[in-house]
């Protein structure tokens, strides 16, 4: 079956621009996660949804980061007024029980 998909795969933004990153989870997976992966580092947790409910947003680095999953399926991670330190790969993962399955990620470069 289809895996987790993310779009766009690459995004170049000018500093101060708003961006929106999309995640399509595996069908039927109730849990959805966003992670941020800096170059050469392990992924770091941003936020977690169970269906449409955002149960944990403790990893969001600032109030410029906002995530939603209004119908319990597709999720969008929005970053307002992007800064150079936001440059990273943003990974989405979905899970049904114990294991998380990852998408290919969106590489964001802020100039």
């Amino acid at each position: 079956g289809a895996g987790v998909s993310q779009s766009p795969r690459y995004k170049v933004a000018k500093r101060g621009q708003d961006v929106a990153l999309r995640c399509d989870p595996i069908s039927g997976h109730v849990s959805l996660f966003w992670y941020q992966q800096a170059l050469g580092q392990g992924p770091e947790f941003l936020t977690y949804f169970q269906n449409e409910a955002q149960l944990d947003k403790s990893g969001l680095p600032s109030d410029r980061f906002f995530a939603e999953r209004p119908e319990g399926s597709v999720s969008t991670l929005k970053i307002q007024r992007t800064q150079q330190e936001d440059s990273a790969v943003y990974l989405c993962a979905s899970s049904f029980w114990k294991t998380q399955y990852f998408g290919p990620g969106t590489r964001l470069l802020v100039l």
């Binding site: 992924p43 947790f45 149960l55 790969v89 998408g103």
Partner: protein, 119 residues
């Protein structure tokens, strides 16, 4: 808070040989899951193997096996008969098994080990 440490930033192995990647973790919990994920240059994170902490038997998946030492909080990955396609970043990750804590399901990753396979 839980932490995961991978002390080997880079490892290399000859094709067809065996290599072991190290991982240690710190937790006060008694029940949890441990994972090894592989991330090739294409960036898609792929699950290699999973271990439940309550299971004494070490998990195996074809050429991949783990050495899980709960008391020592150690979780190493052994790759046998290494193949060129095994070249990637390998991440060790921890996840709590407790679901009452709504943040418990997140994965905590180590810094990764870059594995190179020499032909």
């Amino acid at each position: 808070a839980q932490t995961v440490t991978q002390s080997q930033p880079e490892m290399s192995v000859q094709e067809a040989e065996t290599v072991t990647l190290s991982c240690t973790y710190d937790t006060s919990e008694s029940d949890y899951y441990l994972f090894w994920y592989k991330q090739p240059p294409s960036r898609q994170m792929i699950l290699v193997i999973r271990q439940e902490a309550y299971k004494q038997q070490n998990a195996t998946e074809n050429r991949f096996s783990v050495n899980f030492q709960k008391a020592a909080k150690s979780f190493s990955l052994k790759i046998s008969d290494s193949q060129l396609g095994d070249a990637a970043m390998y991440f060790c990750a921890y996840r709590s098994a407790f679901s009452v804590d709504q943040g418990a399901q997140k994965l905590v990753f180590g810094q990764g080990t870059r594995l190179t396979i020499n032909p």
